[in-house]
């Protein structure tokens, strides 16, 4: 049973109106349990849309999405996955621990159990002493780690991440990538990861999914052969640079000179 199975999915926004957008067309993707899959592609190619479809935050126009063998809707209700966004998206009014407890609270866990799990997660992300601080008292990198802890709190088998490190400076980012790999290795989590950064995609993934826009579709699947255990030294490995080159080549074809487009109204 594959962790995620996307079959013949299209997503059309505002169908039938003048503002119709074909965000995704005929997308097929299978993610096996334990995989780390990155989605990469120019802005507007439908990466976030695909992730949202998997998370059942959107319904596909056609096709079907199954997660852990059940419908994505059921998977959402069962909270089979954890999700993290570009901005850490922590709640300012909750302490770090309470932020991590949020999904558990909504699952109806009792207080002690919640707290125990939150502390366990804080250990995992190496921030055990920050439980009672508030998010805005932490640096951006720490906030991002808390967000990951929150996404992992309910021990989901599947982690969905939408450009989680976009807001970090490069050095913190590299550090966070290492942490994420370590955590996923320890918890044996399957990850679907959206990114704009080629080195990031290559460094993290078994497989890089390259997408192209208008209409959004998958143009290439690139397997990355860097082994399971990656460290800082991996970044200096030749295989790493070759992976980067391969992904860049694949992207070159998809990347329209989109910087020249006038920003539309619906653009967020």
């Amino acid at each position: 049973m594959s962790a995620v199975h996307v079959a013949g999915v299209s997503k059309i926004f505002n169908q039938g109106t003048p503002k119709q957008v074909d965000a995704l067309v005929d997308v097929n993707l299978t993610v096996e349990a334990g995989d780390f899959v990155s989605l990469i592609g120019p802005s507007g190619c439908g990466k976030s849309t695909l992730l949202r479809l998997i998370a059942n935050l959107l319904e596909p126009t056609t096709g079907s999405v199954t997660v852990n063998g059940k419908s994505s809707a059921q998977a959402r209700l069962d909270q089979d996955y954890g999700m993290a966004f570009q901005q850490a998206g922590l709640f300012d009014w909750r302490t770090v621990a309470k932020n991590i407890e949020l999904p558990l609270e909504l699952k109806g866990w009792d207080k002690e159990k919640r707290r125990a799990r939150a502390l366990e997660m804080l250990e995992l992300v190496k921030l055990p002493e920050f439980a009672e601080l508030y998010p805005w008292q932490l640096s951006g990198g720490m906030q991002q780690r808390i967000a990951i802890a929150r996404a992992l709190a309910a021990h989901p088998q599947l982690l969905l991440m939408d450009e989680p490190f976009g807001a970090l400076d490069e050095m913190t980012r590299e550090y966070m990538q290492g942490e994420l790999l370590r955590i996923c290795r320890e918890t044996k989590t399957t990850v679907v990861f959206v990114t704009h950064s080629i080195p990031e995609a290559v460094y993290l993934s078994n497989r890089v999914v390259v997408m192209s826009p208008r209409p959004g579709r998958i143009t290439k699947l690139i397997d990355v052969d860097l082994g399971r255990d990656r460290s800082e030294d991996t970044r200096n490995a030749d295989a790493f640079f070759h992976g980067i080159t391969a992904v860049r080549e694949a992207l070159r074809g998809t990347h329209a000179d989109h910087a020249n487009e006038v920003r539309g109204v619906e653009d967020r």
């Binding site: 949202r52 998370a55 935050l57 959402r76 209700l77 909270q79 996955y81 999700m83 966004f85 570009q86 901005q87 998206g89 709640f91 300012d92 009014w93 909750r94 302490t95 949020l102 999904p103 609270e105 909504l106 699952k107 508030y134 805005w136």
Partner: protein, 291 residues
């Protein structure tokens, strides 16, 4: 806010008051006794002691008897009037706050409700209070639910609520819809219900918007109550004192000022109460660093 900052602010406020007092007395020195015109418009106020009593006369008036022969001093009367109005304002504030927040929730929940209601909320605020006051009094008198009999003062509180609810509902609506899309999506990824999202996300996210709205609402409640006291002749409050003392403005000009200052203190107290709540609920939020 640090203690030092608070002390500095207080000091500046006192300085500002002193400046106003100085300007007042300064004008009394140079201004025409019976008013005058500037560039053909008679905008210079009269500076005689009837129109503009000396600052010390106004202040010392507090310590003198309200009327000759009565043994209550003005400060006691003004204080008790302000206290009375404060209580009415608080009731109005709570009433208006509940209605305002309720409406905001309704409008945040249903787009249709927002479209249908919001224009009328704006229009409602253009209805002059003076037309509403007698209606509220008349309708209140009709209301008798079980053992509950509409007390007359409640009409004043209702009018306070009428002015208070508007900024509160608009501010709360803005706050409730201010939660970032990603946070809303996060909640729905947890399969959270609308009610859970309201309590755990929308309300906390709305607080920074609601606090200034409640501040406006607080002063609205005071204004409503004071107008209502004048309008409906309700006794015991600061509004009534103002109109009664205003009748004696020729004979005892300092008197009306004592009540006017009382009203000012009342408004400041209400605003202060909200500010206090603000300090408490926002204590764990990031402090805004002034640019």
């Amino acid at each position: 806010m640090t203690l030092r900052r608070a002390a500095y602010r207080t000091f500046m406020f006192v300085m500002a008051l002193a400046l106003v007092a100085a300007l007042w007395e300064g004008y009394k020195l140079v201004g025409p006794k019976d008013g005058g015109s500037l560039f053909g418009v008679s905008i210079l106020p009269r500076s005689n002691d009837t129109a503009m009593p000396h600052v010390w006369d106004m202040l010392s008036r507090y310590a003198r008897a309200e009327r000759r022969g009565s043994d209550t001093q003005i400060w006691q009367v003004v204080l008790s009037g302000a206290w009375y109005s404060l209580r009415l304002s608080l009731v109005g504030f709570v009433l208006g706050g509940s209605i305002g927040v309720g409406l905001a929730i309704l409008m945040a929940r249903f787009k249709r409700a927002e479209q249908g209601l919001l224009p009328y909320l704006v229009i409602s605020q253009t209805v002059p209070l003076i037309a509403l006051a007698p209606l509220v009094v008349a309708w209140g008198g009709k209301l008798e639910i079980g053992a509950f009999v509409w007390p007359r003062w409640l009409s004043a509180s209702v009018l306070g609520a009428f002015l208070a609810f508007f900024p509160i509902s608009v501010g709360s609506l803005r706050g409730l819809t201010s939660a970032p899309g990603a946070a809303v999506e996060l909640m729905s990824s947890y399969a959270a219900t609308w009610r859970q999202t309201l309590w755990k996300l929308r309300f906390p996210a709305a607080v920074p918007f609601m606090v200034p709205a409640f501040k406006l609402g607080a002063s609205g409640a005071v204004i409503g109550v004071v107008v209502a006291e004048i309008s409906t002749g309700l006794k015991g409050g600061i509004g009534r004192l103002i109109i009664e003392y205003a009748r004696e403005a020729t004979a005892d000009p300092a008197k009306v000022f004592t009540a006017v200052f009382g009203a000012a203190a009342l408004g400041l107290t209400m605003a202060g109460l909200v500010a206090l709540v603000d300090l408490v609920v926002m204590r764990n939020r990031p402090k805004e660093v002034a640019a």
